[in-house]
Symmetry: C2
Subunit: 446 residues, 2 copies
Amino acid sequence: MENLSENLLQYISNQNSHEIGALFESHYAIDIALALQTLDDQDLEGFCRLVGNEQLASVLEEGSLILRKRIVNLIDAERIVSVFTYMSSDDITDIVGEMPLDQRKKLLRMMRSSDSQTIEKLLGYGPDTAGGNMTTEYIALRNSLKISEALNKIKMIGPKTEVIEVLFVVNDSNELIGTADLRDILTTAGDAELDQITDKNLIAVYPETDQEEVSQLVSKYDLKAIPVINHRHAILGIITVDDIIDIIVEEYTEDFLMVSGVSKDETIHSTLPESIRRRLPWLYVNLAAVMLASFTVALFEDVIAQVVALAVAMPIVAGLGGNAGFQTLSVVIRSITLGEVNLHNGWHLVIKEIALGLIHGLSVGVVAGLVLYLKYGNVYLGLIIVAAMVGNLIIAGLFGYLVPLILRQLNIDPAVASSIFVTTATDVFGFFAFLGLARLFLPYLL
Amino acid sequence: MENLSENLLQYISNQNSHEIGALFESHYAIDIALALQTLDDQDLEGFCRLVGNEQLASVLEEGSLILRKRIVNLIDAERIVSVFTYMSSDDITDIVGEMPLDQRKKLLRMMRSSDSQTIEKLLGYGPDTAGGNMTTEYIALRNSLKISEALNKIKMIGPKTEVIEVLFVVNDSNELIGTADLRDILTTAGDAELDQITDKNLIAVYPETDQEEVSQLVSKYDLKAIPVINHRHAILGIITVDDIIDIIVEEYTEDFLMVSGVSKDETIHSTLPESIRRRLPWLYVNLAAVMLASFTVALFEDVIAQVVALAVAMPIVAGLGGNAGFQTLSVVIRSITLGEVNLHNGWHLVIKEIALGLIHGLSVGVVAGLVLYLKYGNVYLGLIIVAAMVGNLIIAGLFGYLVPLILRQLNIDPAVASSIFVTTATDVFGFFAFLGLARLFLPYLL
């Protein structure tokens, strides 16, 4: 990597376009794009001047959002349009979609009208939908074609498409009716009809289908590409498996970060103001939740004033409850992502969580109770903490199970909001149960 | 789905093998496998009797671990061996690997020796390595072949392989030297040499390479399959992109669950004893951590006895610290997974986390301080909580950033152990800072 950046810099300062072109023979475009990220604008502009349109297109396709923006700002609109002719429609759409509106309009006017229409259509789909992820570079063949004709078409169109192992087969009314495997085309007699080797068990999605659902289908059926169709069954585009991998990574990262109150868009390289903007609101939400817990404690100030040991022991009850709730939460959120569970299919699972809360509460509570007894020499304090922990871990199981499912039912992403509700519940209930029991049995604690 | 199960049951009770065979024409094997899971052993045995070996193979390839075991136990060893001839080596290895040792040996003895050797070799690789995920069904072609000869080989071997869009090219010493794109083979003159269209920028892994690294390479370079080679550069197998998707899902799920103290092997359908075995140890670890926090509070019993408001306010300091630490933690763990960060490359990132702690601590602390001032009418109490929160959120940022990176350096999975260290640090420091400041300024609080 180091080397590649140095080579690039050297060739740029020597204006050696031949050597730069040769780099694209010996390296992957993604690695060149990563090396380009380290250059300053002047060198990057030099690179753009020295490199051909096809190579620049490959860098734009592989580069990060930031690199794309920088390059697009360094070259003029006419060149952008020429570079676009080497790129697939989904990548062009991503780039055009990030431009200011006036620049976008100018570019679209300069493109061939068939191309600009495609891009404008793709721009209309939400970024998290099937339409927002599809490309229009696929091979669709009429089912009445002879195998030999189909093969000729594949040879002709193949180099411009993203997938050739799977061909999409349409009927005379242009409806997608199935897929054909290139293996079968290669091994079937040339005068047979394509229809005969078409697999009619079609898995397809609509442009508005959520990308998470799309990725689940591709993963379940081990597809190399999934077609996107409209409601008249005409094929609009395809989503290829490499884009599906990006979607899966994005969706999982989202779950992982959001459960901790971090926006999915924050990375380690976010600037300080960006990080503040993304994290601080969540800390305020959390402050409100913790205040609620704090006010619960305030209800029992008189009790604590008499038995200070309670202030020492109460973080144990709340802490363990939060932890147990998080365990249940994670298992349930994962199951929701996998489509394994919903609010209606598992009351026996609620029973299981209650049983877990009981058993875990007793197991952990007895140890905590024993330690407190040894420290303060009061057996009732020990018994009270056991009871409070059993109660709180049952609450943790109940809330950990029900909160994400209820949020899902309300169409709120369970990864975002579940943890705050669950930990607030275990904090508030934990303090209330423990301190409430202490008030009830106060004479025995003094 | 409901329908498919019912149809299956009906055809099984009528012993209608023709209709069962037809189901495989109209449905995907994965859906049939899912429907079979709902049948009892007697019906499943009936199904196995009525269905052909090729169809049974497709169900075994797609079915869950449990279904595979049930089917293997219902049919005799000879039939298993026949069914295996329709399956790819990685799936056979998975099934054989789950068998008791004596059954496994018996089966391997019954297989063709070339096949059993392949399986035994694959069984030798760890399940989380490239070797443990590879299949031996690929197309490797000599680089000196003419294009027309290559195409004939592809037509011959293609139907038995998992990928045909990418062909693997070897030299005369059987070293893997690159890949060829089927598009180029289809469009190049038949008398050209395969070597001419071979892309020699080879991305390959060794059998012992960790599966996470493999999935990162496939995702970065948008590969359809990645070859596994030995140290003499001979190709041993390939890993296809559908298996890569499974790996990615597995790795992310692992991170997601482990950060909450749940084993990656727990699902919503785990039995009660299983869930206890997986979760309870972590709760004990957590108990130890919370005890540490509790003992910190115990150091200040005398102070709390005089100012009970401290017991009310202290959960706020600890709670916010834990939350802020979790935010940093999640961003860092995600960046580690993406290979973006290590212990040596970002001291400016530590500075950023400290700055975030300062700013967030002030922002949230001032609100908390104001509320406490309004409630208790003591301005010093408010000032103390601001100071404690600034300190604790800086600690949260520092620990949230450094703990996962240090664990990674020590080869401990940061997703597993980070959160316990970070929350313990914020609990202990939060209580210590807040109550310690309170002792220092005790006269002003009374």
